[in-house]
């Protein structure tokens, strides 16, 4: 059915927010809150209806996609923006898994948040988040995307600090929001740059693409290139904030203070991928700035490597998964950096399934252990919670890239594209005589990170599910499998993490996923400066596209070897060894060198905070004092003049009037003398 209006898709979660918000406020004086069955039903039903709308629109969508413009939003001489929706291949994919996984996680939360006093409030926030995310993905212009961008940031804050009686949760929520905000400055300034070059119409994606094609065809790219590059780098700063890349990634591990479904939905599957979505959506702009793409590639590679290493030092199960998310996002940005935008979206897609499975499984484990999150107090859970263990093991195989599972197809695709597409040749280095081929270096980095991924994920699985149980005796009796309402979404997502990869299995000849994205991303990915620009235009930044051809089987083999090697190292390191159980009150945080590595970027943030504090001190003490002195001077002058004027005041009223008359006489004299009156 192609006549479903597009605005229905964000409408359902918005209705859910309003209804559930009204219920939450109305039942706030009660001790127990609204009945959970009703609230849960409403909360799951509305995203499910959104999903059905998306599914109905997705089947039989033409290549060009659907577009609607709802109404005009801003109409001032400087800026004209409409509220419009764009449903093409890219937003179709994103919407399918946002609404689908959103529905499943909402269903899971009914079981996880059972008995919590803030049950209704939680689902109101979740629906608000889904509304913001849908608006972000479905919008057809940058301004509306920014609305969704801010909305998901807000919901992230609300949901991380959901259990707001604990100060640490509130601090974590603040950190997430503020670090995101720093990135949002980049987004805003990027929009400003785009409007400066292309006018306010350039905020619309279609018009932006047309504008870029015009710039390329016009033959004077070098005129707008500095501004475009600036816009691109600013947008990427926004993406580092939202998708937790270096340097704005410190909020994501702290965000694990929120409930586990929140971590699964927001910080694994949907919100953190909005940065990757933005890069893919603006792919035409990014390919025109090869320097920025190189920066994205470097940042992605560094982040992936650093986060994987940090994941190795964590003891808290959710923190391991948080660093794993940062690392996988680094992979996605690496793919974007070599102009393989469809590969990065594919990894977003598969990552959503297996990371959500991992988080939901971790949530089930925490639920079974009544809140225990430190892996040093877990162990041997496979006997007590077999379904959860199966879910997590399948997801583990997916994330390390075991052949046949989802991660194998997507991660190896990324590594392959890095090797074949990266045409960055680093010249002028004093190490070697000639040029350094960067594609090999990035490939090796990616492969090594994959090994470490397998190591820390293997460590997680072994410490949680195998070996002896290291907790207390009484908690061991209470370990139970999660209820069905939690298990069903986990199992569905496991199916996803097993089979989702087959949508794009190039060695088997299936390129369904790539074909569906080709109308949107194809132009950007096929961009070749040698073809696009006329021969007389030589710009140093644009290197002709060169694709190295290697048999894909080589990459598949290397990826599998990396995964197996990592699993072997994990088994050797933690399989047979006796893991020390943690003492009763010991904190899960790493210490010593591990702490230095983990909190590296926090130290960088502290430096910037210090700089801001010094500036504030300067403003307060120096600037403020100067201003106050100036004010005092003005006041003193006025007081002196006033005191002088009081000399002319006399006590008798009549005498005062006489002076008035004298004054009038003086005025008349002046007018006469200057010839005012003829």
């Amino acid at each position: 059915m192609t006549n479903i209006p597009l605005w229905l898709i964000p409408l359902f979660p918005l209705l859910g927010t309003i209804i559930l918000g009204a219920i939450a406020v109305a039942t706030s004086p009660n001790k127990k809150g609204a009945p959970e069955g009703v609230v849960g039903a409403i909360a799951v039903l509305l995203p499910a209806m959104s999903f059905m709308c998306v599914a109905a629109l997705a089947t039989g969508m033409p290549d060009a996609g659907f577009r609607t413009t709802l109404c005009n939003w801003i109409d001032i001489p400087l800026l004209k923006v409409d509220i419009g929706f764009l449903f093409d291949g890219l937003s179709r994919i994103m919407l399918l898994f946002v609404t689908g996984i959103g529905t499943l996680i909402t269903l899971y939360s009914i079981g996880y948040m059972h008995g919590d006093r803030g049950f209704t409030r939680f689902f109101a926030y979740i629906n608000l988040f889904l509304f913001s995310m849908i608006v972000l993905v479905l919008s057809d212009n940058l301004m509306l995307t920014f609305l969704g961008w801010e909305g998901v940031g807000l919901c992230s804050y609300l949901l991380i600090g959901f259990w707001n009686k604990d100060l640490n949760n509130c601090k974590a929520a603040n950190k997430a929001f503020i670090v995101n905000r720093v990135g949002d400055i980049g987004f805003l300034l990027g929009m400003l740059c785009v409007v400066t070059i292309g006018g306010s119409g350039a905020l619309n994606y279609d018009l932006l693409n047309q504008f870029i094609q015009m710039v390329i065809a016009g033959g004077h790219v070098e005129l707008v290139l500095p501004m475009l590059s600036l816009a691109a780098i600013l947008f990427f700063v926004g993406c580092t904030g939202k998708s937790a890349q270096i340097p704005l990634l410190t909020w994501l591990p702290d965000a694990m203070a929120g409930p586990t479904p929140v971590s699964a939905l927001i910080h694994a599957a949907t919100m953190v991928t909005s940065g990757v979505y933005l890069v893919a959506r603006m792919s035409n702009l990014f390919v025109l700035c090869p320097d920025v793409l190189n920066i994205i590639l470097v940042v992605g590679a560094l982040t992936a490597f650093w986060a994987a290493f940090a994941g190795l030092f964590q003891n808290d199960i959710k923190k391991v998964l948080a660093y794993s998310t940062i690392s996988q996002l680094g992979y996605m940005f690496m793919a974007a950096g070599v102009s393989a935008f469809d590969a990065s979206i594919f990894h977003v897609f598969t990552h959503a399934f297996f990371k959500a499975s991992l988080f939901l499984g971790a949530g089930a484990v925490i639920h079974a252990l009544a809140g225990e999150q430190d892996m040093r107090r877990m162990g041997g859970m496979i006997k007590k919670t077999p379904v959860t263990a199966c879910v997590m093991i399948f997801a583990f195989l997916a994330i390390v890239g075991f052949p046949g599972f989802a991660g194998f197809w997507s991660k190896d695709l990324i590594l392959e594209r890095i090797f074949t597409n990266c045409n960055w040749v680093f010249t002028g280095t004093y190490l070697a005589d000639g040029a350094v081929p960067m594609n090999k270096i990035f490939y090796i980095t990616g492969l090594f990170t994959a090994v470490i991924t397998a190591v820390y994920m293997g460590r997680l699985i072994i410490m949680t599910f195998f070996g002896e149980y290291r907790g207390s005796k009484e908690s061991e009796e209470h370990i139970h499998e999660a209820p069905a309402v939690m298990l069903i979404p986990m199992v569905v997502l496991t199916f996803g993490s097993i089979f989702a990869g087959y949508l794009w299995a190039e060695s088997m000849g299936i390129t369904f996923f790539a074909d569906s994205l080709a109308p949107v991303l194809g132009v950007a990915q096929a961009f070749d400066p040698a073809v696009a620009f006329s021969p007389d235009m030589v710009l140093e930044e644009f290197i002709p596209r060169v694709t190295t051809h290697v048999n894909p089987m080589v990459f598949a083999a290397l990826g599998t070897l990396a995964a197996l090697f990592g699993m072997f190292v994990a088994w050797k390191g933690w399989g047979k060894a006796h893991i020390q159980a943690a003492a009763k009150g010991e904190s899960s945080a790493p210490d010593g060198y591990a702490a230095k590595w983990t909190f590296m970027w926090d130290y960088v943030h502290l430096f910037f905070v210090k700089v801001v504090k010094i500036t504030a001190w300067l403003c307060e003490v120096v600037v403020d004092t100067v201003l106050q002195a100036f004010q005092w001077m003005l006041g003193a002058v006025a007081t002196i003049i006033g005191d002088g004027a009081t000399v002319f005041q006399v006590r008798k009223v009549r005498l005062q009037l006489v002076f008035s008359i004298l004054g009038v006489a003086l005025l008349v004299l002046v007018v006469l003398l200057t010839g005012g009156m003829v």
């Binding site: 008798k652 009549r654 006489v658 008359i661 006489a665 008349v668 004299l669």
Partner: protein, 180 residues
């Protein structure tokens, strides 16, 4: 010629009465002198061509306003401070100031050319009412002002009543209210 004679007579009366206001000791004498001056001025209005205005002056100014003044003087026993000297040091200040001001304005007036226009309209009742109440093509003109003036008079009346009201429970009330 005749107009000039009439004018001189009326002007002398007006100026003389004004001087009497200046020099009289009892306020009632001053009020009477003021009435005389106003009537003389009303005559001058009639002479110049605004008879309506002259009659209004007598009715409102000499009639109503001066009656009010006389009433208040009688109520408040205005002759109470008759022993105080009439002119003091301040008066010696004011005299040269006013003379200076009047001199300068007079000088400026005399140097400007003024002449009677033969087409000037005569201020009869018909003309005045037409000007006030005929809403002309170019706008309401004086009509709104007229209405606002009515409002002003009403508000002045209310303000005066409020201000001069006897406070309940004051000594004055006790002294003058009838005992029941």
């Amino acid at each position: 010629m005749l107009a000039l004679i009439y004018f001189i007579i009326l002007a002398v009366i007006a100026l003389g009465a004004a001087a009497c206001v200046l020099l009289s000791r009892h306020p009632l004498y001053g009020a009477l002198s003021l009435v005389t001056s106003m009537i003389a001025l009303a005559g001058i209005y009639g002479l110049i061509g605004s008879p309506f205005l002259g009659v209004v002056q007598i009715m409102v100014y000499a009639g109503a306003i001066m009656m009010l003044v006389t009433f208040v003087i009688m109520v408040l026993n205005g002759a109470r401070d008759s022993k105080t000297p009439m002119f003091d040091r301040v008066s010696f200040f004011i005299l040269p100031a006013v003379i200076l001001l009047a001199g300068m304005v007079g000088f400026a007036l005399v140097r400007s050319p003024l002449a009677f226009d033969t087409t000037a309209l005569r201020g009869s009742v018909a003309l005045t009412s037409k000007t006030l109440f005929d809403v002309a093509q170019t706008g309401p003109g004086y009509f709104i002002l007229f209405e606002i003036l009515g409002l002003l008079l009403l508000s002045a009346m209310v303000a005066a009543v409020l201000m001069a009201k006897k406070r309940l429970g004051s000594i004055e009330t006790e002294n003058t209210e009838d005992k029941h």
